[in-house]
């Protein structure tokens, strides 16, 4: 490919908040360029996982190549790299951005700029990407097109006149966006005569072809059969197939500098082809790798146990298979007195956790019991040992703790000015530090805080939404570890400590928190034959008590000849119901008790 050819390539992604129309714009561009036949065209074509389509969100980045006939008479190759919208997956956005020269910034004309959008814009600007700002849904009666243009101008420091108007739904302005991609976004740099360097921006696993590396070729070229190496993972492999995204995998003869495509590596473990690594030609030992990016790091940890102990092996297999396509998922075996054998699983966030759970239950037919999630702590004991603790029962006694550090995050919130007070109150409740206020427009602000990640974990977003009548949006990013004063809260059921019910909390709110936990447990533990005493303890001292009184009636009044079968069936049902519960002594604890903090209704 010549330099002239390079000039007709545009690698870009679309930055947008959930529901601001990213997938619809992608669909319109695909239709316009006929990259996909009508038969193949589905709504939200890029969202390949069933779950993504159901949740209406994008989880994994994917890509599509389109050929666009521009107004200047030239044909352009568009490589659109799709990006996830949810904060749990925002690290995937960084990957996608690094493979592009520019991005379309899409903002809903009614909603305005949201916190995540701001965060993504900052990431894009840091990478020197060019942006095409677009206001979408301008046809909606609630559109505030001019005000929203003002917000974008404020955040980007551009002239409002440069901002395009679009209705991806009706198709109005779609061509204008495509033209701006041609005219305003730069063509890729790169030299196909140099040695091969390709950035792995994502990957997936195919059971026949092994790890498929999604690459942006920066320099050089690559064809089928070439020997390749990955300096990050120190793996050698063979590119036994190279191709482009249509968005289905379509083999091509070669990929050259500036292009986006995939490489079938035959590698069996996704960890051997880490995202952010550089794909180099085997034998080119002096070529320097591209600056990669930090691997995705799980932030939330929870115990995951099979409801039926014999399913442990199936759970392991399910987790291993999911990890093939999800390098952010970590797990290691653990054992609980109450729940038996299971895993401590690390997730990017609660959405990720929910999705993994749903996939394990659906695709692997598992019934799972999950514990309350927590963040991971860095501890130093008196003898100087440093360790990370992702499981409450592993937190040593205070007497043996030198230092505990907990993760903090940079939190940004966009909200109407009238809710500033409510947001500050919420942030204060989670021990956050009040930060800056930036006015996006006279009535909407961007608030920046630094908060303990643990405070965001469970229900912060829901509380934020309800405190701002749904108007606020948020984004967060891990920033640092800070010293923390935490305690383990234990729960005793009829005097017996139940390890899987323990959680870690900061000392100051520990008593309140454990009281809340036993109160929630009282609600989810059904009345049974014998009374159940629930106690919450900190460091062996009981600070909260609740009782589940015994049932008084559990018998059918009549049981004559014709009732006996019904009675037996009922007993069998009762017995099956009991099997679903976990037992501690005589007490049956329903599965949801172990994740009681996640029950938003409580």
């Amino acid at each position: 490919m010549s330099a002239a050819d390079l000039k007709r390539i545009r690698n870009f992604c679309i930055i947008a908040h959930v529901d601001h129309g990213k997938s619809t714009l992608a669909d319109r561009l695909i239709e316009m360029t006929s990259a996909v036949s009508d038969r193949e065209m589905r709504e939200q074509l890029l969202d390949t996982l069933d779950l993504e389509r159901e949740h209406g969100i994008t989880i994994k980045a994917t890509a599509i190549r389109m050929d666009y006939a521009a107004d200047d008479g030239e044909d352009y190759q568009f490589n659109l790299i799709d990006t996830p919208g949810h904060v749990d997956f925002s690290y995937e956005v960084s990957r996608a951005l690094a493979a592009c020269e520019g991005a379309v910034l899409l903002v809903d004309a009614s909603q305005g700029i949201e916190a995540q959008t701001v965060a993504h814009v900052h990431k894009a600007l840091k990478l020197d990407l060019e942006l095409v700002p677009v206001v979408n849904k301008v046809d909606m009666p609630s559109a505030r097109t001019e005000a929203v243009k003002g917000e974008i101008a404020e955040v980007l420091g551009v002239d409002a006149g440069e901002i395009l108007e679009l209705s991806a739904k009706t198709g109005l302005g779609v061509r204008g966006v495509a033209e701006a991609v041609v005219n305003r976004l730069p063509a890729p740099m790169g030299d196909e005569d140099k040695e091969l360097r390709a950035l792995v921006f994502d990957s997936s696993y195919d059971k026949h072809q092994g790890v498929m590396a999604y690459v942006r070729v920066v320099d050089g070229w690559l064809q089928k059969g070439d020997g390749i190496r990955l300096p990050g993972s120190r793996q050698d492999a063979e590119a036994f197939e190279v191709g482009i995204f249509t968005p289905a995998f379509q083999p091509v003869d070669w990929l050259t500098a500036g292009e986006v495509g995939y490489v079938g590596t035959g590698l069996k473990d996704i960890q051997d082809c880490p995202v952010g690594d550089t794909l180099l030609r085997l034998g080119d030992d002096t070529v320097e790798a591209l600056p990669g990016y930090e691997p995705a790091k799980p932030m939330v940890f929870a115990g995951v146990y099979p409801e039926h102990p014999p399913d442990f092996a199936a759970l392991r297999k399910g987790l291993e298979t999911l990890r093939l396509n999800d390098s952010a998922l970590t797990f290691e075996p653990e054992e609980s007195g109450a729940l038996g054998f299971g895993f401590r699983v690390g997730f990017l966030g609660l959405l990720h956790m929910g999705i993994v759970r749903e996939r394990l239950e659906r695709e692997y037919d598992l019934d799972l019991v999950m514990t309350n999630p927590n963040v991971e702590y860095e501890i130093t004991t008196h003898d100087g040992t440093v360790a990370t603790v992702g499981r409450p029962s592993e937190l040593p006694d205070r007497s043996n703790l030198e230092v505990v550090k907990e993760p903090w995050a940079d939190l940004s919130v966009v909200a109407p000015t009238e809710y500033i007070g409510s947001v500050i109150e919420l942030v204060r409740q989670i021990r956050g530090e009040i930060g800056e206020i930036e006015y996006l427009e006279p009535t909407r602000v961007l608030l920046s805080y630094r908060v303990p990640l643990a405070g965001l974990l469970i229900d912060f977003f829901d509380r934020l939404k309800s405190a701002t009548r749904g108007y606020a949006s948020m984004d967060y990013e891990l920033s640092e570890y800070r010293a923390a004063d935490v305690v383990r809260l234990d729960v005793l059921v009829n005097g017996e400590p139940v390890d899987a019910l323990s959680v870690i909390a900061d000392r100051e709110s520990g008593t309140l928190r454990v009281r809340e936990i036993v109160q929630r447990l009282r609600k989810v533990i059904p009345r049974q034959l014998f009374p159940v005493a629930l106690q919450g303890a900190i460091g062996g001292r009981v600070v909260a008590r609740e009782n589940v009184p015994a049932m008084r009636k559990d018998v059918l009044a009549k049981c004559y000849g014709g009732d006996v079968t019904r009675k037996r069936k009922l007993l069998e049902k009762q017995k099956a119901g009991k099997k679903r519960m976990k037992r501690v002594g005589q007490v049956e604890i329903p599965q949801e008790a172990f994740s009681s903090l996640l029950d938003r209704s409580g």
Binding site: Q528, L529, F530, A550, M551, R552, K553, D554, V555, L556, A557, K558, C559, Y560, G561, G562, V564, T565, K567, R568, L570, L571, E572, Q574, K575, K578, G585, Q586
Partner: protein, 396 residues
């Protein structure tokens, strides 16, 4: 002697012992009016079929006895419904004669007929006594006329009391009444008044049932009427019955049954203790050997099967040992005699106390059960939890 037809589908040879006296149940499904809370196999407006039904029933009983070849004695006979008393005294007497001919009662056999207070007349009671009946079960439900009307009953409280007197006058040896508690709009005071009035009549036997709502229709009706007490509140009604009846000398021998000494229902006790039992008529249940079956529920279908000589069986199942054990635990636990631990070991190889040690200990310490060397029995509070306790006592 003609060919005996296996119209109860028992197979041949008959897979059960013929030397042991058996309980015999006969179902009469007809009612003048359906009570909304009733869950039994009941039909209304079909009074014209009673004559034909009785004929078919008598043929059913006789045919079955013929199929058995050697006669089997009856340990007890129970004619229930529906409303058996809707049938004339003469016809009931004929039915009783056919039953005792087919299944000769042992000398102390209990022979019960259910009687609706509406039908109670000196003539009916006389016919029953003449037919060999020695026990009547009178469906009082409550003496509270407002509640009776809400329950769709066609009699009032005085009529119910009158039925008890008539039964006594006819010389029926054992008189039982049925009471219901936990009715819509029934306050504890109302229930106490019912108990007082019942005790004044001094029946030999009292069944007191917590009203149980089956199905959405019954739920809706109860709600419309003002709702029923549930859970802890209902337990208060039960406690009241337990206290009042014990004070009056009645033995609490099953969850919902009390009797003066010598008046426990031996028919029902045999069933709770796992006995076989025969069943005749439509929608009757029977257990023969390992086979449990029920007969055609609809009178028309039953009559058709009888006239064409085909099987009257509608549903059947063959019980495994595990099923039989579960049923025995569930039903025997309801009785004052409780579980015969040696029998569980001998017949089922189930050492309950060893396998359920912790549960047994908790049941005793919480006052729900008493454990002796050979029996586990439930206390009054334990009986009101009998189903939950049974579930805990099943083998893994």
């Amino acid at each position: 002697m003609g060919m005996a037809i296996d119209h109860h589908r028992l197979g041949s040879p008959v897979p059960f012992r013929t030397d042991e006296p058996t309980p015999v149940y006969v179902h009469v499904p007809f009612c003048a009016k359906r009570c909304w809370y009733c869950d039994f196999n009941v039909v209304t407006g079909l009074g014209r079929l009673t004559g034909e039904y009785l004929k078919a029933l008598i043929g059913d009983v006789a045919g079955f006895a013929k199929f058995l070849q050697s006669p089997r004695a009856s340990h007890s006979i129970y004619i229930g419904g529906g409303t058996p008393s809707i049938i004339s005294g003469a016809r009931l007497r004929a039915l009783l004669e056919a039953l005792t001919a087919a299944f000769p009662p042992v000398p102390d056999a209990e022979i019960t007929v259910e009687v609706n207070p509406t039908d109670a007349t000196p003539q009916l009671m006389r016919a029953l006594a003449d037919g060999g009946t020695n026990r009547v079960s009178i469906g009082v439900q409550t003496f509270d006329d407002t509640r009776l009307a809400e329950l769709d009953r066609l009699h009032d409280g005085d009529r119910a009391a009158e039925a008890v007197h008539l039964a006594r006058a006819a010389g029926l040896a054992s008189v039982s009444i049925d009471l219901l508690y936990g009715l819509p709009n029934q306050k504890p005071d109302h229930w106490e008044a019912d108990l007082v009035r019942a005790l004044a009549l001094r029946p030999d036997h009292i069944s007191a049932y917590a009203l149980t709502l089956y199905g959405a229709g019954a739920d809706a009706r109860a709600t419309t009427l003002g709702g029923t007490p549930a859970g802890d509140a209902l337990a208060g009604y039960y406690d009241l019955a337990v206290a009042r009846l014990a004070a009056a000398g009645y033995e609490h021998y099953e969850v919902s049954n009390w009797a003066l000494p010598g008046h426990r229902s031996r028919h029902n006790l045999a069933i709770w203790q796992g006995s076989e039992y025969l069943g005749f008529g439509c929608g009757a249940h029977a257990v023969v050997g390992r086979r449990r079956y029920s007969t055609l529920r609809m009178p028309a279908a039953y009559l058709e099967a009888r006239s064409s000589g085909t099987s009257v069986v509608e549903w059947q199942e063959d019980l495994t040992d595990a099923d039989r054990l579960a049923e025995l635990i569930a039903t025997a636990l309801r009785t004052a005699d409780g579980l015969d631990l040696e029998h569980l070991r001998g017949a089922f190889g189930y050492d309950l106390v060893a396998q359920r040690e912790a549960v047994c200990a908790s049941l005793q310490s919480s006052g729900y059960a008493r454990l002796t060397a050979d029996r586990l029995t439930l206390t009054d509070p334990g009986l009101f939890l009998a189903d939950g306790i049974a579930a805990e006592l099943l083998p893994e």
